[in-house]
């Protein structure tokens, strides 16, 4: 496990609903992120992807399981050590404007982590901020502007600069481009790709949109109702999704192409109905209520364990894993993404 940036084992996070009912938001999830690796975590509302990320930084407590972050076991850290560790694991949020203090100017916002963690003096700070602004493509003259005076894309660049200024080991991006217009979204995705390549920083990239995740991730994990249902290298996941839910998500990527109607019908077949309530999860496989392949035995009785689909030649943890009782018998849907040229 040495060299791992983040290693999560059998993580369980339980919450209480507003009327006191307990529910399990993350249910026995494991994942590993290596140095410089980008892990894309996808799933729909309530699947636990954001909770998992927050628990990995211990921003939310977890009930059981183990998290090793930048080589440290979170269970062994006191509050001071935890804060010190977290400054190397910043977050980038969905709503760029809402996550920036409206009273501060751009320079101060970007330099704030250096000040809070006492990492640089005032003069050094300003130089570092300007360097960072150039890196993320913010013109120098914006240094004194306030967030409201910036466009959405510029605001998100400020969020990215602030995240990267502490030379992080892991950056957690929670839906970083969902609030942006299409033409601006592409600019930010390219920027994140450049930064990933240049800075060799690891990313945990959370999104509901598989198409976005596909652009940036080395590995992708799919969560559903608190569980990891499939995990694979990015090309493998899109070309050969094994779990019926992943197949539905891949088919649900709306392409600017003909045949849209057939794809919608395929999605409806693979992902019928709606996500059940976390307060009353189904017995057995979490997906059995929507799955076209579900059988009474074992799907409605036994929770499927993650099985290895195909290991890579080097035998490292690069494998394709799926948690489905029937994955080996499920036919490949007609509409999946074949690997590109």
């Amino acid at each position: 496990m040495t060299g791992e940036v983040l290693s999560v084992r059998d993580l369980v996070v339980r919450y209480r609903s507003h009327d006191g009912q307990p529910f399990t938001a993350v249910n026995g999830v494991s994942l590993d992120i290596g140095p410089g690796e980008t892990f894309g975590l996808v799933g729909e509302t309530g699947c636990g992807k954001s909770t998992l990320a927050r628990a990995a930084l211990k921003l939310t407590p977890f009930q059981s399981g183990q998290v090793r972050l930048l080589g440290r076991d979170l269970a062994e850290l006191d509050g001071r050590e935890l804060r010190k560790l977290r400054r190397r694991c910043p977050m980038i949020f969905q709503d760029p404007r809402g996550s920036l203090d409206p009273r501060m100017n751009v320079g101060r916002i970007i330099g704030e982590p250096l000040r809070v963690h006492d990492l640089a003096g005032r003069r050094d700070r300003e130089a570092k901020v300007r360097e960072m602004m150039e890196l993320v493509g913010l013109p120098d003259e914006l240094f004194d502007r306030r967030p409201v005076q910036l466009s959405g894309g510029q605001q998100q660049r400020v969020g990215i600069a602030r995240a990267l200024i502490t030379e992080p080991g892991l950056v957690v991006c929670d839906e970083p481009v969902s609030a942006l217009d299409v033409s601006i979204r592409a600019q930010i995705l390219n920027l994140l790709a450049d930064l990933r390549d240049r800075l060799e920083v690891a990313f945990l990239f959370i999104a509901h949109d598989l198409a976005v995740v596909r652009h940036l991730s080395d590995r992708v994990g799919v969560m559903y109702l608190g569980r990891m249902v499939e995990e694979a290298p990015v090309e493998d996941l899109f070309a050969h999704p094994r779990h019926p839910y992943t197949q539905g998500l891949v088919a649900a990527i709306l392409h600017a192409d003909t045949g849209g109607h057939e794809r919608l019908q395929l999605v409806e077949r693979l992902a019928a109905g709606e996500i059940p309530s976390l307060l009353d999860p189904p017995a057995g496989c979490a997906y059995q209520t929507r799955c076209p392949y579900a059988t009474d035995d074992p799907c409605r009785i036994v929770v499927p364990a993650a099985e290895v689909v195909a290991g890579a030649a080097d035998g490292e943890d690069r494998s394709h894993r799926v948690a489905c009782h029937h994955w080996a018998e499920i036919p490949a849907p007609a509409t999946t993404l074949e690997p590109g040229r």
Partner: protein
Amino acid sequence: MTGAGTEAGAPPLLEVEDLSVSFNTRRGVVRAVDGLSYTLDRGEALGIVGESGSGKTVGSLSILRLFGLFDDVTVTGAVRFEGRDLLRLSETEMSRVRGGQIGMIFQDPLTSLNPVMPVGEQVAESLRFHTGASRDAARRRTVELLDRVGIPDAANRYHELPHSFSGGMRQRVMVAIAVACEPKLLIADEPTTALDVTVQAQILLLLDELRREMGMALIVITHDFGVVAATADRVLVMYAAQPMEHCPTDHLFQRANHPYTEGLLRLVPRFEHRAHKRLRPIEGQPPALTEPIAGCPFEPRCTHAVDRCAAERPPPVRLGPSHHSACWLAEERARRETAPDKPWEQP
């Protein structure tokens, strides 16, 4: 494929002619829609695509004269629905059209539904107002409608309040209200943007089925070409309050002409893309709508722009029976040897 051509003699269902809408705000006059024209036949589906501030929503809500809280609004042009100019109707006449002959669905079902009224009654209310149905008849029809749009156990869920429904189920209720009076036109403004992707597919499929069953025309307003591909016969691309390109949907993916359309299409996921493919974004920002624009609004971001583009506004150039592109280079671009049949490929 329903083309733009109309049957001889019969007027189109909807004819929008040189529609302009501007809001007078403290910061000056904001031109939200500038010179929008299109026609829509019975049963036809049009996708209106654009980014924030493109005028796609205001242009469509103007059909229903819904301007939100703005009362200081200037509207010019004409919106003829079955030959009647809706901009000239009285407020009473207009209220019969809204929800009756023209239904609408908005992005956020929670704010569009009355939170303290059972969902069934919200559907029945519309039926009784527009069709004069009795209480019992309206209730029976409502249960049928809720069942048709995919609400399980519709008869019992009739009495529940919107908050006990999921986002997808609320949007189904909105669809039931919108189609209750069998409108001739349904306007759906970002109908699936707030929904999860698998539920989005279900709702788009439902809209498509209902359109065919009821013979409704449909206007889908969206930022997503994927939504257009799945639901629309024709597409109108808007940018900075102006129409840029208007063509059949299958033309769009093979013969997109306008540089802005081409730029957007490069950013849409495609089967042919490999993962980690580098995107070619449209550099720069859209213009402020408070500043006057002499030429083409896309000129500052356009990599093909010539001198004329900044000086004169390009008129829509006709490239085919139902294909128009507002670009000075439209004809030249249409003749290109290497037609942009794969505009998403790197040069």
